[in-house]
Symmetry: C2
Subunit: 349 residues, 2 copies
Amino acid sequence: MTVTIKDVAKVANVNPSTVSRVIADSPRISEYTKRKVRQVMEELGYHPNLNARSLVSNNASAIGIIMPSSVEKAFQNPFFANVLGGISNLSHEKHYSLYMSTGATQQEIYSEVVKMVEGRRVDGIILLYSRANDPITNYLVEKNFPFVVIGKPYNEEGKSAYVDNDNFGAAKEITEHFIKNGHRLIGFIGGSPELIVTMERLNGYKKALENANIPVVNEYIVHTEFHKEGGKGAIAKLMSLKQPPTALIVTDDLIGFGVLGTLQEMGIKVPEDICIFSFNNIMLTELTNPPLSSVDINIDQLGYNATDSLIKLISNTENVPKKQIIPHQLIVRESSNGKVINNKLKINN
Amino acid sequence: MTVTIKDVAKVANVNPSTVSRVIADSPRISEYTKRKVRQVMEELGYHPNLNARSLVSNNASAIGIIMPSSVEKAFQNPFFANVLGGISNLSHEKHYSLYMSTGATQQEIYSEVVKMVEGRRVDGIILLYSRANDPITNYLVEKNFPFVVIGKPYNEEGKSAYVDNDNFGAAKEITEHFIKNGHRLIGFIGGSPELIVTMERLNGYKKALENANIPVVNEYIVHTEFHKEGGKGAIAKLMSLKQPPTALIVTDDLIGFGVLGTLQEMGIKVPEDICIFSFNNIMLTELTNPPLSSVDINIDQLGYNATDSLIKLISNTENVPKKQIIPHQLIVRESSNGKVINNKLKINN
DNA sequence: TTGTAAGCGTTATCAA
DNA sequence: TTGATAACGCTTACAA
């Protein structure tokens, strides 16, 4: 039924090992033999059994992608799809397959990783999250198994290579952008404060305020989730302060959408009454009304570079930088298009 | 270095085959031996080599996921991430791993599929698209390899199992919903007319109009892409007709967002001036202003059921229905919240 | 209930 | 430049 290397060998009148060498395009095989063998392979419709190959060569030509444990949420956020796109691009080019984790809980995912690694199903792993004191990270480090983290690992001085943005810098730039436009009442709406990325952006925001001698007001800092429900109350509270902010930094476009919706419901106009700037620049930011200013963090580049590093790590050929920072760009759209002049918010013509 | 079945056998003082049987939890091994062997496995940190296992047992415990060739676009649309979520859920439960295609062109993906299949890397395949005269589908059918299509295959009478929605019915229901609310000027904005799903929804829309003796107006039918740019002109043209529609059916939430944005730019209010109903009910539909009415097509259920069918197909144990229709629900939100009375559009209190 | 041994389809080492 | 053969780690008849 199945055509094996032996069948090809028999028909081509050579030894199986010769066929194997032809497949590997070994330079020590004559062009004549190569042509002959290849023709037979074609005729018989031969395709290598990858499991047999992996068994003996001890490599799988596959990369394991580990999703965060809150899969439900993860699959909602275009971020993951985008980063997958970047990973996909390079791994295809480099002839690596993609193996995805499917577990829902940390525990499940942990066993999956062990199974992938010990079962020799993958040659390396990309972690699509970074969590404090993560058993998976620890396991990988201890095993000395090639892996790359997207986002900053909790233990920065740790052994793991990672690819990230300058989140501190980006948030600082946005804040400075607002300050330059005269804003002094600037709020910060972030996702879970347990995420490192949230904290870094918060710190960048604070730093910019400090530099400009603007006091950091605790009431101006809000943490909420992607979903509308959670955020609504917090935004309402924020906007009903005696001095509501004239500008808002939001750490994720999805949260940004929620904020936009809530504000419109409250009859607060963007950017006439308040300016907004968020992060990620997913496609949908162009489609909102008004279009949402957002930091383009080059999501697929994160995936692409992580893959690049991982493959280098696997082949152990080049030195891989422990840390890679992907550049970002502020994409200014209508939602942040206002200046504060004499304590009044004015729209740029 | 690596702990194999032989090492375990040696330490446990049994034959390798016994260890193998313990792993398979064979009923013909004494509880005593099982306990003993398991303890040794634990002690030595044994994990089976999946490649060796796949080689001999000729199955991979893995499912191949094939993305549409226009990956870029695919990764933009939350639909794919959601369906992946559904697939992920069940395959994890059933102990199948996920293998993803990475190719960008049809040609590339075709070779990937062949490699997966002939290379014995996967036991079955889920196609996340359906295209007319698709070489991959043909290959799979000819090979008699287990696979399931999400969406309706072009060749309906073909041999392939598929999981789909009743797109005709859903579009018809929306149209009837509008008609019931007094609308008679109803437009249709669809994605690429080459997609079967677009055509089915278009037909449902037409059927409902017919049933209500409302003429189908060609100017009311527009095809556009996800991105805003393309659609803008078409929408503008549509709305500047002598008799612009009072209601719009849009075949995808992403297009819906674009339409919403364009209309707001044009100063046309939703639902005061026009009602909108779209498809997919992705999370973001709740976050727009106004919230977008949308048909919940149970995306993850599509993935879940496809996986279910595929696994049954693989194990060849149960009869698998060639066709599975996942139920849908109209989720009515503010964007469609208007009635036409005496030729005037009125908002429901 | 357990052991023996063959074989899955490759690659790689050693000879020739 | 090619052939013979062992080995990769596991499963599964067949024996015992």
